[in-house]
């Protein structure tokens, strides 16, 4: 029987919330956060998926070194993700264009799909104009859904500094969104 063989083992784990890490659950919870972190960072499409894969593969390779009592798993995982992002930019010097990447968004009617795609492309364009630091913080905030305090913990910035940078970035995006036509 996979994953430890016995019903009893599973019941034991369910029942006592054993301290052993449930990697399936961790994966299910963290995958959307890591994937969206990279979506905001480099745009949708294969690059975001590649960097997500790389992050998990690195984290899985080192997971026996992860100590639950030292750092929250999410914090630890996003330390890996940030390093993956840094390596990606360093090695390729590739600014993956958010505006070039497209994917089919969800939607019930062709009109809705078209509208969402247009909004997404437009938003991607605005995100791509932000500075590196702003994009990273936006990715942590809206992609990984961290609070400002959590972002401060991950990045080493102060919480108020995080709030200020994010506030400016959001204001800029909002202003440009309202001002610019979608099809420049």
């Amino acid at each position: 029987m996979a994953n430890g063989d016995a019903t009893v083992a599973r019941l034991w784990l369910w029942a006592t919330r054993a301290r052993a890490t449930d990697w399936d659950q961790r994966f299910a919870v963290e995958l959307p956060r890591v994937y969206n972190f990279f979506r905001y960072r480099v745009g949708p499409g294969p690059v975001a998926e590649d960097l997500t894969s790389l992050t998990f593969e690195k984290a899985w390779g080192a997971r026996n070194r992860y100590r639950e009592d030292r750092a929250a798993f999410g914090t630890w995982l996003f330390t890996v993700a940030r390093n993956v992002a840094i390596d990606h930019y360093r090695s390729a010097r590739a600014t993956v264009s958010l505006e070039d990447a497209e994917e089919i968004p969800g939607g019930s009617t062709p009109e809705e799909i078209a509208e969402r795609r247009s909004d997404e492309t437009h938003l991607g364009r605005l995100l791509a104009r932000r500075t590196e630091r702003e994009r990273e913080l936006l990715a942590l905030k809206y992609g990984a859904e961290f609070t400002n305090r959590e972002i401060a913990r991950v990045t080493g910035l102060t919480e108020s500094n995080v709030g200020t940078i994010l506030h400016r970035a959001v204001q800029s995006i909002r202003a440009e969104w309202d001002k610019e036509p979608e099809n420049e």
Binding site: A6, E103, T164
Partner: protein, 329 residues
């Protein structure tokens, strides 16, 4: 800057769920890596210990219902849950005593049917045929919480034999005195059948919950084994003193009760009623979130007919109860 002021809906529009095919493919790759690495040592140790505690838990904790058709085996199923507190340090002692990768008190262990890894299923309708029952979904969700994903793990079956010598050795190592290991355990097969298990995950920005539902697992042991005596041994191995272990072993209705060991210092628990059925509500210290803040956790276990449910997450007791009550009866 206040978080709420930055909660701009426009910026949230860029979020998407990962492609399920990508998610499955990545999880498979990671699983292969896990297998190459022999799975994570902490997980293996915990599972091995849990299996090892089979004599402690498996052989006694799953209730005896009836003698099987062959009249050779007692069949055990879960009908209700009850809590027994234990010192978590003992769990660590049991874990460190396990030098044989799960063979703590076993001689042999065989997989009869591999359950395989949990697999993503898109809907409960897709999960139901494989689960063998109509998968339920709560009609009530706490504010902000939404259904996230669903997984199913197939049926599994294993069997193992217990070693009296190993059991005695374990009790010695744990310094458990005044316990007589019954003879006649050696060489007999104990079979464990795990039915398909459906796990539905719910999440919001800050919280999450998992609803697990399955048919009752079954454990078959040779007829004639003194379950009460084995239960008492198990309770002693968990660290209870002889008086308390004997009292609980005698008071427990082994026919329909699964004892749930809960750590002494980290939980509170109480019996509750869920849709007219007895349940066990456990409040834990929860878990540390990405922000380093601790969130209280709640776990509710109950049975209904032949179904076993476990709902746990970073929710309040009230929310968990409301979710459970909202499942179709």
């Amino acid at each position: 800057m206040n978080d709420d002021r930055l909660d701009d809906p426009l910026l949230h529009q860029y979020r998407r769920e990962p492609d399920p095919r990508f998610a499955r493919s990545l999880r498979e790759r990671l699983r292969r890596a896990e297998r190459r690495q022999g799975i994570s040592r902490p997980v293996m140790r915990a599972l091995a210990t849990a299996c090892g505690i089979g004599v402690v838990v498996a052989l006694f904790a799953i209730p005896s219902v009836r003698v099987s058709a062959q009249a050779l085996l007692d069949l055990f199923r879960v009908r209700r849950f009850a809590a027994v507190q234990f010192d978590e340090a003992r769990f660590e002692a049991l874990r460190s005593a396990d030098q044989d990768q799960g063979l703590l008190v076993f001689d042999r262990k065989e997989t009869i049917r591999d359950a395989g890894p949990p697999r993503y299923v898109p809907t409960r309708d897709a999960a139901s045929p494989e689960a063998g029952f109509a998968v339920s979904e709560p009609s009530y969700l706490p504010e902000g919480l939404r259904a996230d994903s669903m997984f199913i793990q197939g049926e599994g079956e294993m069997r193992f034999t217990v070693s009296e010598a190993k059991l005695r050795s374990l009790l010695d190592r744990l310094d458990v005195k005044g316990v007589t290991v019954p003879s006649g355990l050696d060489g007999h097969w104990v079979e464990v059948r795990k039915p398909a298990v459906v796990m539905q995950k719910f999440r919001s920005k800050r919280r999450h919950a998992v609803l697990i539902q399955a048919k009752s697992p079954e454990v078959s042991i040779p007829a004639g084994w003194d379950v009460e005596q084995l239960g008492e041994i198990g309770l002693r191995a968990l660290g209870l003193n002889s008086t308390e272990a004997r009292r609980i072993a005698k008071a427990t209705d082994w026919r329909n009760t699964l004892l749930v060991p809960v750590p002494l210092d980290v939980t509170t628990f109480r019996q509750v009623t869920v849709q007219g059925n007895s349940g066990l509500l456990i409040t834990t210290k929860g878990e540390t979130g990405p922000d380093g803040n601790h969130r209280e956790g709640t776990m509710l276990m109950w049975t209904s007919g032949d179904r076993v449910y476990c709902l746990r997450g970073t929710l309040s007791a009230r929310e968990v109860m409301l979710m459970a009550e909202s499942l179709p009866s």
